[in-house]
């Protein structure tokens, strides 16, 4: 019987986090997801900066999600200053975050999670026996990066997306090239789906979840939306995000946790598919059926399966956007004009790991007075602890090493982005 289990650093996740499990009288007394990542006080760093400096700083909260941080931040600034952007800009931003989604999911599914399911310590070791799969994964990942490079100007920390629009618009030839690559990428993603459909997903962590995600703007599945929906049936405008994410400071962690009505909840691919999966069409719908994600899953390890499904969705959606842009032709429009004023605004988007919120207030000189950023990983932390507890309870008799490995798997299933979650500590309470 274990007394306590400590994992100092969970490998193959972004950032520094550990797990501590304490037992008492054969029962789990405490499960902590410890976050050691150094705090960076992002929200106080941007106080006093002018509205145009906020995004370049806050996108640096996280590299893997920098595209979606950028877009969300821009939407929050624009919302606060009353700036309206064109349909073309919205399409290009959507494309940019699809690129981020593809890159992030490919990295996670192929390089970080698959080695788990196939029992390898790393993707490099896995490459020895599964070179084909690894190469496919890397190619898909690269495609996600290429989209971000073409639209955002850089794979990590995009520069080209700015307030009101874009510095430079992509040339039709560039979009055509992307289209070609995406068509191939879609096929390759199917290979990933086939592979994952065959995997046996372990069931040591079955536990019901409350899911949260943005309600898509249109009729289809989307990473953008104005309303937050929960599997409990609750619904809020994104401006009321704080009613969903009620933040708590916990002593064992540098990150705050989000609770909704005193219950942990889950955001991310699995939540999106659970809540909005019925809106999937085309190839993505086929993939959903193939992967058996027709009804909300209780197994967090299936989040990786949902990510594979979203690879298909993101490729299809990217193709759709490119087709629309090519059909209507790229209009050489300047960025929407800015009129400085005091105001507050919220931006939200579905990041690879779940819903991301940026909320800002500016004074009449356009200087930031208050910023609040809630990242998906911060929202998931409480749920991770819930699932860890579940897993430990199911695996009481497991030898330590194997138990540790399985707990790591649980954490990894969330694809947590720890530096993201530890951007915080606001000045005011």
């Amino acid at each position: 019987m274990h007394k306590s289990i400590v994992i100092n650093r969970v490998p193959r996740v972004e950032g520094h986090g550990g797990i501590t499990v304490n037992m008492k009288d054969g029962k789990v007394s405490q499960v902590n997801m410890d976050i050691y990542e150094g705090p960076r006080f992002f929200e106080s760093l941007v106080v006093g900066k002018t509205y145009d400096q906020v995004t370049p700083i806050l996108m640096r909260i996280c590299a893997i999600c920098s595209a979606v941080h950028t877009v969300t931040s821009l939407m929050a600034v624009e919302n606060a200053l009353g700036i309206k952007v064109s349909h073309q800009t919205r399409l290009l931003r959507d494309l940019l975050i699809q690129g981020g989604n593809i890159e992030s999911h490919a990295l996670h599914v192929f390089c970080l999670a698959l080695p788990d399911f196939l029992n390898y310590p790393s993707v490099v070791d896995m490459a020895r026996d599964h070179a084909q799969e690894v190469c496919t994964g890397l190619e898909i990942k690269k495609l996600g990066n290429t989209i971000q490079e073409v639209i955002g100007g850089r794979a990590v920390h995009p520069v080209n997306a700015v307030i009101g629009g874009f510095g430079k618009l992509p040339a039709p030839e560039e979009l055509l090239r992307l289209k070609e690559q995406l068509t191939k990428g879609l096929e390759q993603s199917w290979a990933a789906v086939e592979l994952i459909a065959q995997l046996e997903i372990p069931d040591f962590c079955i536990s019901p979840n409350i899911y949260a995600a943005l309600l898509p703007n249109g009729s289809g599945f989307s990473l953008l939306g104005e309303e937050i929906i929960l599997s409990t049936g609750e619904k809020r405008n994104i401006r009321q995000y704080q009613q969903i994410c009620q933040e708590k400071v916990v002593p064992h962690s540098h990150a705050k946790q989000s609770w909704c009505n005193d219950k942990p909840f889950m955001v991310g691919a699995l939540a999106r598919v659970a809540l909005n999966g019925d809106k999937l069409v085309g190839e993505a719908k086929k993939a959903r059926d193939k992967l058996g994600l027709n009804s909300p899953s209780k197994n967090i390890l299936e989040n990786n399966v949902a990510q594979a499904l979203e690879l298909i969705y993101s490729m299809e959606r990217s193709l759709e956007i490119i087709d629309e842009l090519l059909d209507t032709g790229i209009k050489p429009e300047p960025s929407a004009p800015v009129k400085i004023r005091a105001g507050s605004g919220v931006g939200a988007a579905e990041a690879p790991r779940g819903t991301l919120y940026h909320s800002y207030s500016f004074d009449e000189e356009g200087r930031l007075t208050k910023a609040d950023v809630i990242t998906p990983t911060a929202q998931n932390l409480a749920n991770i602890e819930k699932d860890l507890r579940q897993a430990v309870e199911n695996l009481m008799d497991e030898p330590t090493e194997s138990l540790k490995r399985k707990l790591e798997m649980v954490v990894r299933a969330y694809d947590p982005c720890i530096s993201c979650s530890v951007h915080l500590l606001e000045l005011k309470r």
Binding site: G15, P39, T50, C62, S66, V124, E408, E426
Partner: protein, 259 residues
């Protein structure tokens, strides 16, 4: 020749530079083939944290005493220590307000009785240990990383550009953002290596790679003043990515302004 033993570490930062390593999709398998990677927690389990290293790549800044300890330990074990990314080289965005004691931030959140994290003002690695090579960039440039690794494999330190972004901007024939658009570009004082990425999109360089050697910050301040920027905004702009760099020191800037 034995493959060089390599460790890749992340201190506090966004993991962007480690991600750039993972983003070398086409070269990744060659890269891991020519190096004996002993530690890369972001990508692999089973790190060896005791062994001697030929090269250590370290990302991020030091903001906690534990990180200082880790960094010193890495330094002890590594023949060469390479700082990757502007955070490691100059402190990065996290260090832009490092004149404010972070303990204040913490106290305000937790109150005096709460748990007190030990936090130190974010500093570049070179404040704690000897750094053999600095690859700046927020994030680092893939091309520079690969060339750098090749040079290290060859037994040399790579030669990095020691001139301003303007030079690359003009080599690529982009219209000057300062001269043509009148926008506050930091190209003249920022070290090249990104191919003048932002000016290529018609946007100002924000200085994400940190200052070039021997910058004329007084002249840059003059230019920004002429464009109508307030002193606060000029300081903010100059001190976004590399505030701990000596030429961007608050006092130095004050002197440069009055020069």
């Amino acid at each position: 020749m034995d493959k060089p033993k390599v460790g890749i570490y992340g201190l506090t930062g966004c993991a962007g530079d480690q991600l750039v390593i993972l983003n070398c999709e086409d070269e990744l398998l060659d890269l891991v083939g020519s190096l004996d990677i002993k530690s890369f927690s972001m990508a692999a389990s089973g790190a060896d944290d005791q062994c001697q290293l030929d090269i250590a790549f370290v990302e991020g800044t030091v903001v906690q005493p534990d990180e200082e300890k880790l960094l010193k330990d890495i330094r002890q074990r590594a023949k060469l220590l390479v700082a990757i990314g502007t955070c490691a080289v100059w402190g990065g965005v996290t260090a832009m307000k490092n004149e404010v004691d972070p303990k204040k931030f913490i106290e305000q959140v937790y109150g005096p009785a709460g748990k007190v994290f030990e936090v130190i003002p974010p500093q570049p690695l070179s404040s704690f240990v000897k750094v053999d090579l600095s690859l700046p960039g927020c994030p680092i440039e893939k091309e520079q990383l690969l060339r750098g690794v090749a040079s290290l494999l060859h037994g040399d330190l790579p030669k990095l550009p020691n001139y301003a972004v303007c030079t690359e901007c003009k080599m690529a024939e982009y219209p000057c953002i300062l001269v043509e658009k009148g926008l506050p570009c930091l190209g003249p004082i920022t070290v090249a290596g990104c191919g003048a990425r932002c000016p290529s999109y018609g946007l100002t360089c924000n200085g994400c790679r940190g200052p070039v050697d021997d910058i004329n910050v007084a002249s840059e301040i003059n230019i920004l003043k002429e464009k109508g920027f307030t002193w606060v905004d000029i300081q903010n702009r100059l001190r976004t990515f590399a505030a701990p760099a000596p030429p961007l020191n608050l006092q130095t800037l004050e002197e440069a302004k009055n020069a």
